[in-house]
């Protein structure tokens, strides 16, 4: 039996260890404490490093240190803690260091609450830190996907030399589901750029200061090209019941789960509703949405926020003549499938008119 | 009337008490004990078991983290 019934937070931790992650630095914050606790209990067993840092700021900088040596490294936090990591994330992206950062979002702004929410979409996809950089964002919607995307996050991080954000929320972190874990990865890629001491070779340095504006500009465009390449090769998106749909819900993560429940109900009423679920939030699946827009003219974006992914959907569909509506439940309210099926009902009927 | 001659009565505000037992522990006169009945919050609150022994020393009220102890004089 290789299935285990485990929680999202534990699942990420276990998957990370299997993906060869050997350093974890983090600071407690609900609703992701179990992730660090799992690391505390298990990382040292595989010869890895678990260190509870003095703050999130310190954690992300420890990540920079470990990443600079070529070690697979992870940190995790939740909204306020992730805000404190923004400077570090900007550095990581600028350094082009691979690392995985988990954000189990909670209701905000401020201290907010610890219920599931999706208010950090902008921060995640636009780079809440300073300067011209982005962080690719993966948004799993099941515990199995948490496992798979954790592994994928480490791979993408190494391949593209970039920090990767894994974006969930309290529901994703706390819920348990059956999971099949991938085999532990033993073959890690070479990282010729890593700082491991000059040894017999030439010395190297990783600088963040690039005083020459033209060099900095080149670096910025290089990052843009990298993101473009990822957009072409790495965009992930699930289409659910879209084959015959004439109305599409767009939702990710927890809301996508709820949307599926609602869509099932709506289908029973005979509404041809389907779901477009972006799995990568950056790069955003523009092309897929545009393709969908040949078939579907009515879109309903559903988020546990006041409307953030909404902008990406509008940007993707700006040229197409479609309607984009929005239903949001921000601040830590978990909407129910019933509620959302009613919303679908309303917009669907309106479309029919 | 000197303090010695005073009569003191200790009461527990049942629904404020979380049954931590600190008052019971620190009452030198063993005035307090555990109630067998749960309160509204689901705790077994403290209750005076030897009320007459109370000397009004206020130890229980001092240690009670929940202001569940009332001490009366007279």
């Amino acid at each position: 039996m290789d299935k285990v019934f485990t929680s999202g937070n534990h699942c990420i931790a276990e998957a990370a260890i299997r993906a060869g992650c050997r350093c974890y630095f983090g600071y407690p914050i609900t609703p992701q404490n179990e992730l660090g606790e799992y690391m505390a209990a298990n990382m040292r067993k595989v010869g890895g490093v678990f260190l509870q840092s003095e703050s999130e700021t310190a954690a992300i900088n420890m990540v920079i240190g470990a990443a600079s040596t070529g070690t697979r490294v992870m940190t995790s936090s939740s909204s306020p803690g992730v805000s404190l990591k923004q400077e570090g994330l900007s550095f990581l992206a600028g350094f082009e260091f691979p690392a995985v950062i988990v954000n189990m979002m909670r209701g905000g702004p401020g201290l907010g609450n610890i219920a599931p929410a999706q208010g950090d979409y902008f921060q995640s996809t636009r780079g809440g830190g300073h300067g011209d950089y982005r962080t690719p964002v993966l948004a799993p919607a099941s515990v199995q996907e948490l496992a798979d995307l954790t592994v994928k996050a480490f791979e993408l991080a190494d391949t593209y030399r970039t920090p990767i954000l894994l974006l969930g929320d309290g529901m994703m972190g706390q819920m348990k589901e059956p999971v099949v874990f991938p085999k532990p990865i033993t073959d890690l890629p070479e990282k010729p750029w890593a700082l491991k001491g000059r040894g017999e070779g030439a010395s190297r340095y990783q600088a963040s200061l690039i005083l020459d504006g033209l060099a900095m500009e080149r670096h910025n465009w290089k990052l843009v090209r990298k993101y473009k390449e990822m957009a072409e090769k790495e965009t992930l998106c699930e289409l659910y019941m879209m084959d015959d749909a004439d109305f599409a819900v767009v939702a990710y993560g927890t809301t996508a789960r709820i949307a599926k429940g609602a869509i099932k109900r709506a289908r029973k009423e005979g509404f041809k509703v389907g779901l477009v679920r972006p799995v990568t939030l950056f790069p955003f699946p523009d092309k897929i949405l545009q393709k969908v827009a040949y078939q579907v003219k009515n879109f309903l974006v559903f988020e546990m926020s006041t409307g953030q992914m909404l902008e990406d959907v509008k940007l993707a569909l700006g040229g197409n003549q479609v309607e984009v509506e929005f239903h949001g439940r921000p601040g830590g309210v978990i909407p129910t499938p019933i509620e959302f099926s009613r919303v679908i009902h309303r917009y669907y009927r309106r479309m029919l008119k | 009337m000197s303090k010695k001659d005073k009569v003191f009565t200790v009461k527990v505000r049942r629904d404020f008490c979380k049954g931590c037992g600190l008052c019971i522990e620190f009452c030198k006169k063993e005035v307090l004990g555990v109630s067998a009945k749960l309160n509204r919050m689901g705790y077994n609150p403290a209750e005076p078991v030897k009320p007459e022994a109370c000397i009004g020393c206020m130890m229980c009220a001092q240690v009670c983290p929940d202001m569940a102890i009332e001490v009366y004089s007279g």
């Binding site: 299935k3 609900t30 348990k176 589901e177 789960r257 949307a259 599926k260 129910t336 499938p337 509620e339 | -």
Partner: protein
Amino acid sequence: MIVKTLCAGSGGQGVMTLANIMGNAAMFQGFHSTYLPAYGAAMRGGTANCTLTIADEEIASPVASAPDIVVALNQPSAVVFINRLVPGGKLIYDSSVAEEIPERLDIDVFSIPASDIAIELGGVRSANMVMLGAFAKLAGVPSHEAIFTSLEYLMGKKKKLVEISRQAVIRGTEYFS
């Protein structure tokens, strides 16, 4: 088939364990299952609850706004959560500890003196296992085999605990046979 159950009780009563064993058992039997605990500040003050969903298809939302079953290990839980049940839903409660249950006519109410049965078996701590047995019986899933596999998987080395739990589960099941 999809069954959503809300399990609730006070801190130390083992609600989470109950649901976790059920979730595992459902998985072992090949079902889809999700388990969602209420966490954080909501936990303080001694109450705990979680939602368990068992289905033979992909489970969309792990949340139960209107559960099919409520398993209440104490009185406050029964009182609070009875209102959330779907019409036609089932409430199972431990009648050894809960006394007055509000009336609701559109549901079925099942009582079982779980704590008393547990005490008979050697300790009130396995009241949750008695409830588990009753719950499984009324839900129709998962099977005894799956539950026992799950028990052994989760309690592993604690042979004695497994044995007591097993018996408690059986007593719970039989109560409604």
